[in-house]
């Protein structure tokens, strides 16, 4: 009788360390390969299958809420610091070291403000509008690819889904503008509707050209196809033109300066959110910041290779999510740069830009990409 060999099980502390290391390097594989099966196995005996999936979905929602909170805090500070940089001043520098705690102070200020509803306002719609804005933003976040395998879900129709749900945000602006019972708010809401419906067209065409080139509608699939070369140059001249169209029209779609006509303070007080205060106002603000991040992240995903490293730098084994956040951060900086470089356009200039310049250009771009793909240039 031979003695049973000692089982080669590493001590728990070592296994925890290895898991944490994996979580840092490849969070997608760690979460979907280790954490999700473990949770399913732990919950399985206690809940029906529907319940298990519901709990996992809820956990994803909580994680995304944490992500939204942190991103919004970083972006509010970045917005003020970048503005200060362009105007040659210091920006927030009193709360915490280098003003780093300023966003926390802002949140405390907003939290204790009174939540007012105008007497003439349409109460249910007025109260619902900020939630609608947040819901539309959250729906886009569900397919954002942070790293290989790291997304709430990877839909087969991912890109189409993004185009569809990002159009829902305008409903919240219309609701807020109308329910406020205020002519400035209504004008802001109506301007926004005209603007967003117009500026949905050229980004959709640019996305279509990327889909044509990649041969897939899945967001993760589009990133995977950029392993050899980012779409920015893999698509030839059409990549550069497409990215410029997408970034310009994206900035207009999220109502940011120089296209911030729905809230032009010199003409409309604050546009659709004039009557909002406290937390409801900050929900609009939060949605706006997250939309800016989403446009930046999608530009990075569609044209700059998402979480893919830059050619020779792949040897450094930098985790994919750092690439993703680095590229998205650079695009956020460009969008903020727009704001302090271009004066606000007029309504007619805005419409001319989309219908007479960007839209024909994106049609030509689509034809160019179709020819490029048909000639086998990928």
């Amino acid at each position: 009788m031979t003695p049973a060999p000692l089982p080669l099980v590493p001590p728990p502390a070592f296994r925890l360390g290895a898991f944490l290391w994996k979580l840092v390097l490849t969070p997608g594989a760690a979460l979907s390969g280790t954490v999700a099966p473990a949770l399913r196995a732990a919950l399985g005996p206690h809940l029906p299958p529907a319940g298990v999936e519901a709990v996992l979905a809820l956990l994803c929602f909580v994680a995304m809420s944490g992500f939204v909170t942190v991103t919004a805090l970083v972006l509010t500070l970045a917005e003020r610091k970048v503005a200060a940089f362009f105007q040659n001043r210091k920006g927030p520098n009193r709360v915490g070291p280098w003003g780093l705690l300023q966003p926390i102070a802002d949140v405390v200020k907003l939290l204790q403000k009174e939540d007012t509803v105008p007497r003439a306002a349409d109460r249910p719609v007025f109260l619902l509008a900020p939630f609608m804005a947040m819901a539309a933003t959250y729906m886009v976040l569900a397919v954002l690819p942070f790293d290989r395998g790291l997304a709430v879900t990877d839909l087969d129709l991912g890109v189409l889904y993004i185009t569809a749900v990002s159009g829902l945000g305008v409903l919240s602006i219309l609701m807020a503008g109308w329910a406020s019972a205020n002519k400035y708010s209504l004008l802001g809401g109506l301007r926004s509707a005209a603007q967003i419906v117009s500026y949905e067209l050229s980004p959709a065409l640019v996305v279509l050209s990327v889909v044509l080139f990649s041969g897939t509608l899945s967001v993760q699939g589009i990133v995977e196809r950029q392993a050899a070369g980012w779409n920015l140059w893999a698509m030839g001249p059409m990549g550069v033109v497409g990215m410029l169209i997408y970034l310009t029209a994206g900035t207009a779609e999220i109502n940011r300066a120089p296209f911030d006509l729905p809230e032009a303070e010199s003409e409309l007080t604050a546009g659709y959110h004039t009557e909002y205060s406290g937390m409801r106002f900050s929900m609009f603000q939060l949605a706006e910041f997250m939309n800016m991040f989403v446009v930046a992240a999608l530009t990075a995903t569609l044209f700059l290779g998402g979480w893919q490293p830059l050619g020779p730098l792949a040897a450094l084994h930098i985790p994919g999510y750092l690439w993703f956040f680095g590229k998205s951060g650079a695009m956020v900086f460009v969008i903020m740069w727009f704001r302090w470089t271009f004066p606000r356009v007029r309504v007619d200039q805005l419409m001319t830009l989309e219908w007479k310049i960007l839209l024909p250009l994106s049609f030509l771009n689509l034809i160019g990409v179709a020819l490029w793909t048909a000639l086998g240039m990928k």
Partner: protein
């Protein structure tokens, strides 16, 4: 009962409730918003029934574009004051509506029995990965292979309509 069945029931009843709300609300803006909610419920139903392409297009075209333009017009005209009277007038209308609804329901129930089961069977297991991508390919084949001629004809028709609208709008501006 899986998550799928629960969600199907939730969105089916949601779609019905919002549809009823659309026709019974006096406020035009409310009715438009309820119609958006109804369309979103329908889109969710399409996705649950393995037609995700239809669901996404429903959100993109109807909820995201057409209803936004509709709301735009309704809000601009501010026609709150017109629809003061209830949508349903008198017991006759209510009875008629109920009768029609019952007839339609009976038709659906008995009609569903006669429908060949093979036509309803999904190509892949419901909810299986890849159903969405397959969905796009199959719709594309139906549109561009079997229905290519009709598809092109509809495209020309729509283009004609767009040009006609522009000509008419232009003439009105000049007068």
């Amino acid at each position: 009962m899986g998550l799928r069945e629960v969600l199907l029931a939730v969105f089916a009843f949601g779609a019905l409730a919002f549809a009823l709300a659309v026709v019974s609300t006096r406020n035009t803006v409310y009715a438009a918003l309820e119609f958006v909610a109804h369309l979103l419920c329908l889109a969710a139903l399409y996705c649950l029934l393995d037609a995700p392409l239809l669901g996404v297009l429903q959100v993109m075209v109807y909820a995201g574009a057409i209803m936004v333009l509709f709301l735009f017009a309704v809000m601009m005209l501010d026609i709150q004051e017109t629809g003061r009277e209830s949508a349903f007038q008198g017991p006759g209308q209510v009875a008629g509506a109920l009768l029609l609804a019952a007839l339609l329901f009976a038709l659906l129930v008995f009609g569903a029995d006669r429908f060949p089961a093979a036509a309803l069977a999904p190509a892949a297991a419901p909810g299986a990965p890849g159903v969405g991508a397959d969905n796009v390919v199959r719709v594309a084949r139906a549109l561009f292979e079997r229905g290519a001629l009709v598809f092109e004809a509809v495209g020309v028709l729509l283009l004609t309509a767009v040009v006609a609208v522009m000509v008419m709008a232009k003439r009105r501006l000049e007068n």
